[in-house]
């Protein structure tokens, strides 16, 4: 069976909604961070797939993907720094208990 664009798009959509589901249901901030990474990677798959099937003679999709991977690494570092300082302040990384900015 030939692997077509639709297969890639199914995979990335599934990955995206798994990420969203994880982000909404998980209370642990590390898990939420992992869920965000899933979402980003689903986007990466989209870029690569579109690049391969629609514009095979161009490389913009690859460049975007490389950028996103770099930024995702930086974002993970920032997010973990935030999580550490949240832990120092609240002695927990459960998002349920961190609501002091509420009205």
């Amino acid at each position: 069976m030939e692997i077509s664009l639709n297969h890639y798009l199914f995979l990335s959509t599934a990955l995206f909604f798994i990420g969203v589901y994880g982000f909404i249901t998980r209370r642990n901030m590390i898990s939420m961070l992992i869920a965000v990474e899933l979402i980003l990677n689903s986007v990466n798959i989209n870029f690569i797939a579109f690049n391969k099937f629609l514009f095979p003679d161009k490389a913009e999709g690859l460049f975007f993907t490389l950028f996103i991977i770099t930024i995702a690494a930086a974002e993970a570092a920032v997010a973990i720094a935030i999580i550490i300082s949240v832990y120092r302040r609240f002695k927990t990384i459960d998002a349920e208990n961190i609501n002091s900015l509420k009205f």
Partner: protein
């Protein structure tokens, strides 16, 4: 001669006001008094110098005293032709007023220096006095009708401040509010009058207004005369409205109610503001616009009849009062009535303008003897510690100097020759005789009443019963209770003024058109006026020289009429009824209802709705990040659905 030194007459009191007002509690207490007195003394000298140069050296061009604009500074320009200027205008009446105001103010400062010595707010008093002097001087030299209005309000404010000087006394607070509100109410008329005048004359400058509106064939006059409202031309309305402002300040019936109450202020203030200077501002205003009043008989008759009615009305009330300062207040009102009706019966130009000259003459002499009366009364009150006539009597032994000076002033106001009041009053009555016999008759009657109530006052203070006032412990050991020297000096100088002011040939200097004329002396008219005064004095002598029951018998025979007069003809009650019952209930109460229930309700309702809505939606903001993600996601899905559908 260069008159530019006039500006210093204004700057000096202003500077003293600022210094004593701002730093009064930092400098030694008496220094503020010395500063105020010295600056007024210098101002008085400057004013005399200016008067001398104006009247005798350089004011006259080809036999006519012309108006000199010393300086002019455009303050607010509305259009090329219409601007509010600040300037100094010197003409016979403003030069005369400069002398009167600075001189009386100087005397009052001198007197207050000792009179107020026990007052903790001594410096405040002197700063207010300086503010008043500044405002009044600015008013008299105003070259622009709006400048006059500004200073007019400033004197109103300083009068308010000084009446309410004893602010811990509720009656003084009420009196100051009453004075301010009544005169403000009258000033509304003045303001509308100014707007009308400036609209039709196309200028706010006194000289321009008078020139444009009094030239018979000018286009300005024709438009003003053609525009009519309720049967009177616009010019008539404008002049009547301006007169309302003047009547408010000068306590003419029916806007006089504030003046007797204003006596709650310190006595020197009553002498300066409510006898000699501020209350004649209305007369000055009418005199300033006299060429216009003269052209409109309706407006001039209004001035004449309001003046003569106020003169009689106040004289009748003065006969029945027992508060020494209130008697003097009503007497002031009555004498200002004289000045007003003198303007009302005057013609324009040459001997026709006798009434105008007489009015200004009376203003001048009245300032002298009325200030003297008030200051002497202040000395008596200082000694007796009461304003009421029943607490006084037989004080001629205790206060011989005050006694003589008070007698002089009483004789002057009664029109006994050769004191100053005789000359001015005789001129007024002569002018009235030639113009309007009714006004003349009422004037003679008022002259008799004036003499009667002044001598009733004099006898009740200095003769009548034996001195009931026992000397206070401090005064024990000396027979008399004369005022301290600085007070006596002021009284004495004013006494000299009272005697001598009558010999100034006013008709040579202050006339309606600036040309000197010779005022004839009419023996028969003078005899009538003097005998009216003498009859008044004789009746008062019979009633009050020695304790007797003649006055009681007389008052019981007058019955209800006397009670009516004693209660000031219930004018105050009428005002209270009109304001409290009619205006408050019919206008203010509905207006307040609309404000509270419609205007305020609308605003409150919009606030309440906002609060309600925000209460409802604030639970969406849970502070939980995954809730927000759900909202965000829902939004994204909604948007994508929308893009798919459309």
């Amino acid at each position: 001669m260069n008159f530019s030194s006039t500006i210093w007459i204004l700057i000096l009191p202003l500077a003293v006001f600022l210094v004593t007002g701002l730093f009064g509690n930092k400098i030694p207490k008496r220094l503020s008094g010395i500063l105020g007195t010295a600056s007024m003394g210098i101002a008085a000298l400057l004013a005399l110098n200016i008067a001398y140069s104006y009247f005798f050296i350089s004011g006259k061009t080809s036999d006519t005293y012309s108006a000199i604009t010393v300086m002019k500074y455009s303050w607010l320009t509305f259009s090329p032709s219409l601007s509010i200027d600040m300037g100094i205008l010197l003409d016979p009446i403003s030069v005369m007023m400069l002398v009167v105001v600075t001189f009386v103010s100087f005397m009052v400062h001198l007197y207050s220096y000792s009179y107020m010595k026990d007052e903790p707010r001594y410096h405040v008093f002197f700063s207010f006095l300086s503010l008043f002097s500044f405002s009044m001087l600015g008013l008299v030299v105003a070259s622009n009708i709006f400048q006059m209005y500004i200073f007019w309000e400033l004197v109103g404010v300083s009068s308010f401040l000084l009446i309410g000087f004893y602010y811990d006394k509720p009656s003084a607070v009420a009196a100051s509010k009453k004075a301010f509100i009544v005169t403000r109410f009258a000033d509304l008329g003045f303001l509308i009058g100014i707007l009308l005048l400036s609209y039709y004359a196309g200028s706010l400058d006194f000289n321009v207004i008078i020139e444009r509106l009094s030239t018979p064939d000018s286009s300005f006059l024709q438009t003003a005369a053609a525009a009519s409202f309720m049967g009177a031309s616009a010019l008539t309305w404008a002049l009547c409205l301006v007169f309302i402002g003047g009547a408010g300040k000068s306590a003419m019936f029916p806007l006089h109610i504030w003046l007797p109450d204003a006596m709650e202020g310190p006595t020197p203030v009553s002498a300066l503001i409510h006898a000699a200077t501020m209350v004649v501002a209305g007369v000055f205003l009418v005199a300033r616009l006299f060429p216009l009043y003269h052209m409109i008989p309706a407006a001039q008759n209004l001035v004449a009849y309001v003046g003569v009615f106020s003169a009689l009305f106040a004289a009748v009330i003065a006969c029945t009062q027992t508060d020494i300062k209130r008697i003097l207040a009503y007497s002031t009102m009555s004498q200002i009535g004289y000045m007003m009706f003198a303007l009302g019966v005057s013609g324009y130009g040459g001997e026709e303008g006798l009434g105008y000259t007489a009015s200004m003459f009376h203003l001048f002499t009245h300032a002298m003897f009325k200030a003297l009366l008030f200051l002497a009364a202040g000395a008596v009150i200082h000694h007796v510690h009461s304003n009421d006539l029943s607490a006084m009597g037989g004080m001629r032994k205790q206060m011989p100097v005050t006694n003589i000076l008070f007698l002089l002033a009483c004789l002057a106001i009664s029109g006994v020759p050769p004191l100053s009041g005789f000359f001015s009053k005789e001129e007024i009555l002569t002018a009235a005789f030639h113009h309007d016999k009714v006004v003349y008759a009422i004037g003679i009657l008022t002259a008799a009443l004036t003499a009667f109530y002044m001598f009733r006052l004099y006898y009740s203070i200095f003769w009548n019963k034996k001195a009931v006032h026992s000397p206070s412990p401090i005064e024990k050991g000396r027979d008399e209770a004369e005022a301290p020297p600085s007070m006596l000096i002021a009284l004495f100088i004013l006494g000299v003024g009272t005697v001598a002011a009558g010999f100034i040939p006013f008709s040579q200097y202050v006339t309606s058109d600036g040309q000197a004329f010779h005022s004839g002396f009419h023996l028969s008219l003078a005899v009538t006026a003097v005998s009216a005064g003498v009859i008044g004095i004789l009746i008062a002598t019979a009633f009050y020289l020695k304790p007797n029951n003649r006055s009681d018998k007389f008052s019981s025979s007058m019955g209800g009429l006397l009670r009516f007069a004693r209660n000031k003809f219930y004018v105050d009650e009428v005002y209270t009824f009109v304001t409290k019952k009619i205006i408050f209930n019919l206008i203010s109460a509905p207006a307040a209802w609309v404000d509270k229930n419609i205007v305020d309700r609308t605003m409150i309702l919009s606030g309440e709705i906002t609060a309600l809505v925000s209460d409802e939606i604030k639970s969406l903001q849970s502070g939980k990040v995954y809730d927000y993600v759900v909202y965000f996601l829902a939004g994204v899905i909604l948007l994508s659905l929308l893009t798919i559908i459309y």
